[in-house]
Symmetry: C2
Subunit: 160 residues, 2 copies
DNA sequence: ACTATGATGTTATAATATAGCGTTTTCGAG
DNA sequence: CTCGAAAACGCTATATTATAACATCATAGT
């Protein structure tokens, strides 16, 4: 859960602004609105779902095509992550940090789309990279997506 | 590369037949054709691409909807894997083995869709599962999909 | 042979995503 | 300040991936 209240959201958006400037681009109004939509969603949502969130919860009128373009921009500026596993998007949970991070590992609840972004321990990632090289491949992305069930959503068929 | 020739393909299909029977289901003609299509593709393909492969390379006339249904069946019978990362399907590379395997780790070339199915070392998977539990999640699937570039497809932007 | 079940055919439609191009905005050079 | 280029955005069309729903066909057990 990133944005617990309006104030926190504002702070994240301000920091995102800075982060963009540092990368030589700008967080325009629309882009900020899309990011705000992701923050209030507080879970992974598809581009189309995000237009609904922006309209229904924030009153922002955005077209899906614009949302796609903006999501791509935000991803390039390390403000959002695209989850290939579910074709959904989520705000980066580290926007307000300054320091470098380990490669992220996403725990994605298959039922409710809640996502926790944890850090992959370096030795794990090294081991994965090693197995990859050994097989004649080169890592393309250094994040892992793990399909899970969160504690609020019981795993189907699990007796426990 | 699973099926290097027609003979090997036949052997895999025969084994798949057995595997289905053991699970109380049947590998019908159509299902066998879809699996054969995946074997000759020798890489990850989408359901629609697979209908093209079956038609153009094997002369089998299959509708995409049937292919989806059959892929679902084959997946339930552990004969194919669905790669969530790319929305493509690939034949399981262990059909002709009898023994149990470790959770698979798929190395997927983003450029050419070549896939190697390697085994995730147990300690790695345990470490991932541990981090998952610690965050209040339960693993839903025990396979990892790793986006890579294979040696035939140079990584874009890589100077080396 | 009859019937229940599973398998397949068929049509429609939903959900996700990209292409292409015209218009508007922004912003620095002159 | 204004002009022109580049970036951002609006808009339409269309490609790609996937599911739903129901009809028909095949097959096995009685």
């Amino acid at each position: 859960m990133i944005a617990i209240n309006q104030q926190a959201t504002k702070r994240v958006l301000a920091q995102a602004q800075q982060q963009c400037l540092a990368l030589g681009s700008k967080l325009t109004t629309k882009r900020s609105q899309v990011l705000e939509g992701l923050l209030v969603a507080a879970k992974a949502v598809s581009a189309y779902e995000l237009t609904d969130v922006c309209r229904d919860k924030l009153g922002y009128d955005l077209l899906p095509m614009s949302v796609y373009r903006i999501l791509e921009f935000l991803e390039n500026n390390q403000l959002v992550h695209r989850l290939n596993t579910s074709n959904k998007y989520i705000a980066c949970s580290h926007i307000t940090c300054d320091h470098e991070h380990q490669p992220p590992q996403f725990l994605i609840c298959k039922t409710c789309d809640r996502v926790e972004e944890v850090e992959v321990p370096t030795p794990i990632m090294e081991s994965v990279a090693k197995a990859t090289r050994k097989a004649g491949f080169t890592l393309a992305s250094s994040h892992l997506e793990i399909e899970c069930y969160c504690n609020d959503c019981d795993a189907p068929g699990a007796a426990i």
